[in-house]
């Protein structure tokens, strides 16, 4: 057996069903072994796309995503994908070819210090120097990627190692004395948390990306206690968005109710979330009256930004049920009524006096899919609109680059998610700026023929940057105008063999969306929407979450012609 065959055999042993990759000189022996392997390979058009697909594959399925790239430029193209996965705790194993060991360090053709470059953006990485190490290294890679706080692991395999004869056993025992994630929460801490929660009069539960694996446990806690729930961008789907206890998303573009709840609560249970600055705003103004109970599997997140009064390190699937057991129905009726009042006062609303606005497209998509779909997004205004108006009802279904905010994530992510969950409708909510950052993956989408609806909310602008320039840079619109040089997206789709439509009005939008949902194949819908739309509320950088600019979310805003209770209906 050769090193390359060992690689493929080990992937089979770890249950890998699909690999996202792009071949090249230094990984050709592995691609040669792939030729005889039962594992499906998705040929991407750019390695970054492959990394995002593997990432979304994990997010949608819980199974570790795998991507391949060659040495040098192939591997450096993975970097953004690895960093995206690292920030959002996504389990992927990336395997890269490298130049032969003897040439490493000589500035050989297509050589880069991949081990050095990817160290800061991976949970762990390896440069395999001996073929005997391959089974152990690959087993460790899958173990590290998928346990504890998940993350990307890269395995760099020089070409001579791929070609070397292997005569050992593929059976390995993983022995990593320095890697022992804490899964079981400390009983005393859980007890202290329960005491604090029982004493609270105005508690909220904030769930983040970590809760995607613990929806049942979150549900049981809420059912038992009646505690109101805030879902961060990464936590969308961990609790039903239309439930009575749901307050929506917190933070910079969060709902008024969620932000007011944070500012007025006396206790926060933060579960599987990490107090990103987009959630907290100015830290000193964040939940000033609250006792913080922070439950996370990563001890380094405890008190990193917001001081935890009761830290609990562990897996939510262990900690939450034990916590729930110690709790009964909380005596918080007055608080729940206050929150219901805010929800009634501040429903989602938007103006429809324009030809077409982003928000109504999302409302139409929700209607047409009965909100039972996977949503992938790019990054920008459309992402925030999607988080607020198209939050998924299922876990592992809202696939978005939260931490790194990677434009270009969405299209490959939609493909990866669709491959992970065949048959389910995937809606990609994109902007005309973001989608162009990995547009080449339309070829991959065509080839895989997946039921992905690409909804481009095309305002001809880098909308979020434009919004900041309007509000904070004296309307100096520096380098945000795209409309004069955007492609005709419908024709572009057609050039790739994908059905495409340019849509300018409401009625066409409605029928086109219905048709696209029914089509069960890739369709690109290019909606020309109002260019100067802004996402409100907005917490300006450096301000507290109690200092939101309400904009069109102002209850008596006269410009708001139609009030739509978008999410809660």
């Amino acid at each position: 057996m050769t090193g390359s065959e060992v690689v493929m055999k080990m992937l089979e042993r770890h249950g890998v069903e699909v690999i996202f990759g792009h071949p090249g000189g230094a990984i050709m022996p592995i691609y040669d072994a792939l030729y005889d392997s039962p594992i499906k390979h998705v040929l991407v058009r750019h390695e970054q796309g492959g990394a995002h697909m593997a990432d979304a594959y994990y997010r949608a399925s819980g199974k570790t995503g795998v991507c391949f790239a060659t040495s040098g430029p192939g591997a450096t193209n993975l970097v953004t994908g690895l960093a995206t996965a690292m920030m959002d705790s996504s389990a992927i194993v990336a395997i890269t070819g490298n130049v032969p060991s003897g040439l490493i360090g000589t500035d050989a053709f297509q050589e880069a210090d991949v081990f050095g470059i990817t160290g800061p953006v991976t949970k762990h990485n390896y440069l395999v120097k001996n073929v005997e190490d391959l089974p152990r290294v690959l087993s460790e890679a899958f173990h590290i990627a998928s346990t504890g706080r998940p993350g990307p692991v890269l395995v760099d395999v020089p070409k001579n190692v791929q070609l070397a004869k292997f005569e050992g056993s593929l059976d390995v025992v993983i022995d990593l004395p320095g890697y022992k994630p804490t899964v079981v929460g400390h009983a005393g801490q859980i007890h202290r948390a329960a005491e604090a929660i029982r004493a609270a009069k105005r508690p909220v539960l904030i769930v983040g990306g970590g809760a995607q694996v613990a929806t049942r446990e979150v549900g049981e806690l809420v059912e038992r206690t009646g505690i109101p729930v805030i879902t961060t961008l990464m936590g969308i789907g961990a609790y039903p968005p239309a439930a009575e206890e749901t307050l929506g998303m917190p933070g910079m573009h969060g709902t008024v109710t969620a932000n007011k709840a944070i500012s007025n609560c006396d206790l926060i249970i933060a579960a599987g979330m990490r107090f990103d600055d987009r959630v907290t705003g100015k830290i000193s103004r964040f939940a000033p009256k609250a006792t913080i109970v922070h439950i996370d599997i990563d001890p380094a997140e405890i008190s990193k930004l917001v001081k935890a009064h009761v830290p609990v390190v562990g897996d939510l699937r262990d900690v939450l049920p034990r916590l729930t057991q110690e709790l009964g129905n909380l005596d918080i009726q007055a608080w729940r009524e206050t929150l219901s009042g805010w929800k009634a006062t501040y429903p989602e609303r938007y103006q429809v006096d324009k030809p077409l606005v982003s928000q109504e497209i999302l409302a139409l998509l929700r209607e047409a899919t009965a909100n039972d779909c996977i949503v992938a997004t790019e990054v920008g205004q459309h992402q925030m609109f999607a988080a607020r108006l198209l939050p998924t009802i299922k876990a592992r279904s809202f696939i978005t680059s939260g931490g790194l905010g990677t434009m270009g994530f969405g299209l490959p992510a939609a493909i990866g998610a669709s491959i992970a969950r065949p048959g389910e409708t995937v809606v990609l909510v994109a902007g005309d700026g973001s989608i162009q950052m990995n547009i080449q993956e339309l070829a991959t989408l065509y080839k895989q023929n997946l039921p992905v609806i690409i909804a481009i909310l095309n305002n001809g602008m880098l909308g979020m940057v434009r919004q900041w320039q309007e509000l904070f840079h004296a309307q100096r619109y520096s380098e945000v105008y795209l409309a004069d040089s955007n492609p005709d997206f419908a024709k572009l789709a057609e050039a790739y063999g994908i059905e495409g439509h340019n849509i300018f009005d409401r009625e066409t939008a409605r029928t086109a969306i219905a048709d696209a949902v029914a089509a069960k194949k890739p369709v690109l819908l290019n909606f020309f929407v109002y260019e100067a739309e802004k996402v409100f509320p907005m917490v300006p950088t450096g301000a507290g979450v109690d200092e939101m600019i309400l904009g069109d979310q102002e209850p008596d805003d006269e410009r708001t012609e139609q009030v739509v209770e978008a999410v809660t209906r």
Binding site: F115, G116, G119, P120, K123, H124, L127, K129, I144, L176, P177, G178, Y179, D298, P299, A300, I302, S303, K304
Partner: protein
């Protein structure tokens, strides 16, 4: 408030482990004042001692981040535990005349510094001790003219708890 911390990080001898630690410090805005690395009594295991400056919160965060590195086995913050630390220094001082030579040797004796090289115009001393002693010895030698010096940086070990002594 910024102050100095001595951290012992016991690691598996894997390629790149020092780079991982150094890169982590750089990424999290921690300044390394000194660093020493050497084998321990166990094969394949090394002990690194870092002297770093930062705030309490930062050092706590860095300790936690260090623990997350797969090749890191233990992290001890010696500023919070009872420990002993030592440093080794080689110092070359210039000697201009016999009187100076006598005076220098007298001072060196007080510091229990050993002469490791003798020449007509210079002496090289080896000194071990804590940082304060190093600094004091340098101060004493400065008037004679320090040609050059090298310090290893601090190494530290936890003291044995009294109950086990």
């Amino acid at each position: 408030m910024s102050k100095q911390y001595v951290l012992s990080v016991v690691v598996r001898d894997q390629p790149g482990v020092l780079v991982r630690i150094a890169s982590l410090f750089a990424r999290r805005g921690f300044n390394i004042e000194s660093l020493s690395v050497a084998q321990t009594e166990r094969p394949g295991i090394s002990r690194t001692t870092f002297v770093v400056s930062g705030s309490d919160d930062t050092v706590e965060q860095v300790e936690k981040q260090l623990h997350k590195l797969v090749d890191v086995l233990t992290v001890v913050d010696h500023t919070r535990s009872r420990s002993v630390d030592r440093e080794l220094m080689l110092l070359k001082v210039s000697v201009k005349n016999p009187d100076e030579r006598v005076e220098i040797r007298q001072i060196a004796q007080d510091f229990r510094a050993h002469i490791v090289d003798v020449a007509r115009t210079a002496l090289v001393f080896e000194v071990t001790g804590d940082t304060a002693k190093m600094d004091a010895f340098i101060d004493q030698m400065r008037p004679f003219g320090i040609v050059e010096l090298i310090r290893t940086g601090r190494v530290a070990l936890e003291r044995t708890p009294a109950a086990h002594a």
